[in-house]
């Protein structure tokens, strides 16, 4: 008889019973729908214990790596510690603040203990008074400090504080990491397409550097879109990375004003389609404002990219 722990309580699972059946039978509410391993409504995470491969079939590699599985097709073989999602809060402090443009601030943080994360995931930054906002990680775990790119939101409380008042050594808390938009090794020759707008560049830079560090050998194509050239940032660093990395290219894209600056002009999705009309066999990462992410996700899919190879993170702005 295997034991399932969930939400601080223990439940027994009968032989042959699925995790979902065992939990439902004992009155635990777990979202579910098809109960056939298809719809993924019943996704849970095994923090401890091993789930059979069949329970992770069809899931994105990033979810598999974090222990997520489909409870409706997971027949219990041994004890499991289960959780819906989440993480822990950690003490940290600001160690660097650098304006990259008028509206983008590079924030560097240190934590009391090393944060375990993947480049491209996001953390929730909490100020001492409890104000909290989520930002993607542009750094790699080996960098020592955590790097966030913060856009100054109109009347934004956290971004306003970081831009105008915060100083090095100020204390903060961090929650997370979370998110499944990150690089997973194992297909080193697969071409990668990364595209985003605004500070969507933060996770994409992290993912590119992570892929390069893991010796990804296939093409890595990064596109960064902005309305005007002033909205682009890290151009020098990315151009330098492209010069020293044979399989990496960086294409800045603007809607207007980019003539003569070595910048592509046009809608981001059209520029990508012009460069890469067929995307069968590619893996894609898309980050930035929800409108652009929605359009790009659909365009990449229609250009032949498999749905499970598309990793997206839409930045939803907090209500003011």
């Amino acid at each position: 008889m295997a034991v399932l722990t969930y939400g601080g309580a223990a439940y027994e699972a009968a032989p042959g019973e699925t995790v979902l059946e065992a939990l439902l039978r004992q009155g635990v509410e777990v979202a579910n729908s098809c109960r056939a391993g298809a719809c993924q409504s019943c996704l849970l995470r095994a923090a401890c214990g091993t789930v059979p491969p069949v329970a992770q079939k069809g899931l994105k590699a990033t979810l598999v790596e974090q222990g997520y599985f489909l409870s409706c097709v997971c027949r219990v073989e041994s004890d499991l510690a289960l959780e819906p999602a989440g993480g822990l809060e950690m003490q940290g402090r600001i160690v660097g603040l650098e304006r990259l443009t008028e509206t983008v601030l590079r924030v560097q943080l240190e934590t009391a203990a090393p944060l375990e994360y993947r480049a491209g995931q996001y953390v929730t930054l909490c100020r001492e008074d409890g104000l909290a906002r989520s930002y993607s990680l542009a750094s790699l775990p080996g960098d020592g400090t955590l790097e966030l790119h913060v856009r100054r939101a109109p009347q934004g409380r956290m971004s306003g504080w970081l831009f105008d008042e915060a100083r090095a050594d100020d204390a903060v808390h961090l929650r997370g990491p979370a998110g499944d938009c990150f690089y997973v090794g194992g297909a080193a020759e697969q071409p990668l397409l990364l595209a985003g707008t605004g500070t969507g560049l933060a996770p994409l830079v992290g993912i590119c550097r992570d892929a390069i560090a893991q010796e990804h050998s296939g093409p890595i194509r990064l596109f960064h879109g902005a309305v005007r050239p002033a909205g682009l940032y890290l151009r020098e660093e990315l151009a330098a990375l492209a010069r020293e990395t044979a399989n990496f290219t960086y294409t800045p894209v603007v809607l207007e004003g980019g003539e003569g600056e070595g910048i592509a002009t046009g809608a981001l999705d059209k520029v990508i389609a012009g460069a890469h009309p067929k995307l069968g066999g590619w893996r894609g990462f898309i980050c930035g404002d929800p409108g652009t992410v929605g359009v790009l996700r659909k365009k990449l899919f229609l250009a032949g990219m498999a749905s499970r190879e598309i990793f997206a993170d839409a930045f939803v702005e907090a209500p003011r």
């Binding site: 098809c34 109960r35 056939a36 298809a38 929605g294 659909k298 899919f301 749905s307 598309i310």
Partner: protein, 121 residues
């Protein structure tokens, strides 16, 4: 005699079909408007559940689920012509995957049996 679901290849067959099917549906001007602005990951999950059912596989769908799930689309004008367009895309997907006509006919019969529920009649 193995089941229709087994003959089609089970869950791997659903996985192989779902992208091809959804790509056809999204590219079809007759019906693509109904999918404007929907969350793609969630939609693909739903399409998998639907294909699993149409392939004769395990499912939990009831006629009432079909009605509830499509009521907002019926309110926007979903009718027989749209149902036919989706069915056409499903059939074309199976042909593309090299499924025999006999099995395609069986899948289309299951899919067709949902017509009145989907259209809220």
């Amino acid at each position: 005699m193995s089941s229709l679901y087994e003959q089609l290849g089970g869950q791997p067959a659903v996985d192989a079909a779902v992208d091809i099917f959804y790509r056809k549906v999204l590219s079809d001007d007759r019906i693509s408007d109904f999918f404007e602005g929907v969350d793609m990951d969630r939609q693909i999950g739903k399409q998998k559940a639907f294909l699993t059912m149409a392939f004769g596989g395990p499912h939990n769908y009831t006629g009432q689920d079909m009605r509830n799930g499509h009521a907002h689309l019926v309110a926007r004008g979903l009718n027989d012509s749209h149902f036919d367009a989706v069915a056409e895309n499903l059939s074309a997907t199976l042909q593309e995957l090299g499924v025999t006509q006999d099995l395609i006919d069986q899948v289309m019969a299951i899919a067709g049996s949902t017509r009145n529920d989907v259209l809220g009649r």
